[in-house]
């Protein structure tokens, strides 16, 4: 109840202050934290509902989960964080291609991982504001077949909506891991070959091939 109350106060404050040209005014930290957390709560609920529908085929479920991921991840920001210094050396066409392929990559990863979970419970456990205005929401998946899994989501606000900009699984940041991989490839063979490799990998994965060393 209190949560909703705070949320409404936040919304009222937003309207009263009148966001200038899409720029949201800085929110009080606890309002921001609450908003970001409710985004994750709602998303997890959506995903669980999809997974629980027995009439859907595995492919349909993947498709639905992909759509949910598309709606809540900020692929543009993630791509820029991944490419870091290399972003400015990419042409606009290369940037677009990278963002598009990364988007595919992430939803494939997200889909593949989620399909494995059966009879698991997942819930947000805490959330806090980071110094730069981002919010980190911590979730815990309790699994019957393994130890609990801690997944943190880092969110950033764009206009008035919160988007996921990183997923940190047991302390391993997906963006950082991908940055390390792409940096090595870019310095070895260049941007075009990186995009090509990502494209090939995505196509392979879509076909469900078993990997060989």
């Amino acid at each position: 109840m209190l949560r909703w109350h705070r949320f409404l106060v936040g919304v009222a404050a937003l309207i009263a202050l009148g966001p200038a040209a899409g720029e949201a005014p800085p929110l009080a930290p606890d309002v921001a934290v609450q908003q970001a957390r409710s985004v994750i709560d709602a998303t997890l609920k959506e995903v669980l509902q999809v997974l629980a529908q027995k009439i859907l085929s595995e492919a349909d479920k993947k498709k639905r989960i992909e759509e949910i991921a598309y709606a809540h991840f900020d692929f543009d920001t993630m791509s820029r964080l991944i490419l870091a210094r290399n972003w400015r050396h990419f042409s606009q066409a290369q940037r677009d291609a990278f963002v598009a392929e990364f988007k595919k990559h992430l939803s494939l990863t997200y889909g593949e991982n989620l399909m494995r979970y059966k009879n698991e419970t997942v819930a947000t456990t805490s959330a806090r504001a980071e110094k730069n205005g981002d919010v980190k929401v911590r979730t815990k998946i309790v699994r019957s077949t393994a130890d609990p899994l801690l997944i943190d989501y880092r969110l950033r606000q764009r206009e008035t909506t919160w988007y996921v900009i990183d997923v940190i699984i047991e302390g391993i940041s997906l963006v950082a891991n991908f940055r390390t991989q792409t940096q090595a490839i870019i310095s070895d063979v260049g941007a075009d070959r990186l995009i090509e490799r990502l494209r090939k990998k995505n196509a392979e994965r879509a076909q469900q091939k078993k990997t060989t060393p």
Binding site: D166, E170, R197
Partner: protein, 251 residues
């Protein structure tokens, strides 16, 4: 807690300074994470071959002749026998209370939990703390460079290799049980490993980075894992700063 962390940080800085810039620096001025990459890659390739031709087939066979609940219980049984590792490395980090909890957990799970095949201790609220000697040495100020890959054992570094030796000494598991433990663990982790291989652009770099990030997080976060405080896991704020654009083409 905080005071001790600061001391540990100071100690590691001091030792780092004494060691005198031992980390090699690349042409771009940043430290090289993996100075032995070529050699590491060939050992990594060897390990992948061992996994593909030996370990994974064994794990698949194991999965067909056992049922999941047995594999999970065995996993708990092996974990229980490693309690001395967790207890002593907690003690070495000044975590007396956690060390005590590990002893109580062991006694509970070995008796009520039928030799550790079940884990009633967790249900009683006795939190496990996955410490090891590598983490203890890290808290003592030993740094983790250079990264290396060990045949059969995988990603490591001098500190964690030394830690592994101590872990093995204090593992109550009798040696003949080890093959079962390895195959059983591989069987339980099959889907995660397969998913990681699928998603990686360069599996070698993927594993190296995941290992480095995970160890760092484990060393940083010695507190109860669900508390979100200043010692939270993952990269710091600087990491999430966007590069300025010198191009006009981006909104």
């Amino acid at each position: 807690m905080r005071g001790r962390c600061t001391r540990a940080a100071c100690a590691s800085l001091l030792i780092g300074a004494l060691a005198g810039c031992s980390a090699p620096v690349g042409p771009d001025g940043r430290p090289v994470v993996d100075p032995h990459e070529a050699g590491n890659r060939s050992i990594f390739g060897f390990n992948e071959g061992v996994d593909y031709y030996v370990l994974n087939p064994l794990a698949e066979g194991w999965s067909t002749i056992t049922f999941l609940d047995l594999r999970l219980s065995l996993n708990k049984f092996f974990y229980n026998l490693e309690f001395l590792v967790r207890c002593l490395s907690n003690l070495g980090q000044g975590e007396g209370k956690q060390a005590g909890v590990e002893v109580v957990r062991f006694l509970t799970n070995t008796t009520v939990g039928l030799l550790g095949f079940f884990d009633p201790a967790s249900r009683l609220g006795l939190q496990r703390s996955d410490e090891d000697f590598g983490q203890m040495f890290a808290v003592w100020g030993m740094d983790g460079d250079p990264y290396w890959v060990l045949p059969f054992l995988g990603p490591s570094n001098p500190r964690d290799t030394l830690g592994f030796v101590f872990d093995s000494i204090f593992d109550l598991m009798l040696v003949f049980g080890l093959p079962i433990e390895i195959v059983n663990t591989r069987a339980l982790r099959d889907r995660e490993i397969e998913a990681a291989r699928r998603s990686a652009l360069d599996f070698y770099v993927f594993v190296r980075d995941a290992y480095l990030q995970r160890r760092e997080a484990q060393v940083q976060n010695r507190k109860l894992r669900e508390e979100l405080d200043d010692e939270t896991q993952g990269p710091g704020d600087d990491f999430y700063e966007l590069e300025e654009n010198d191009s006009e083409s981006v909104p």
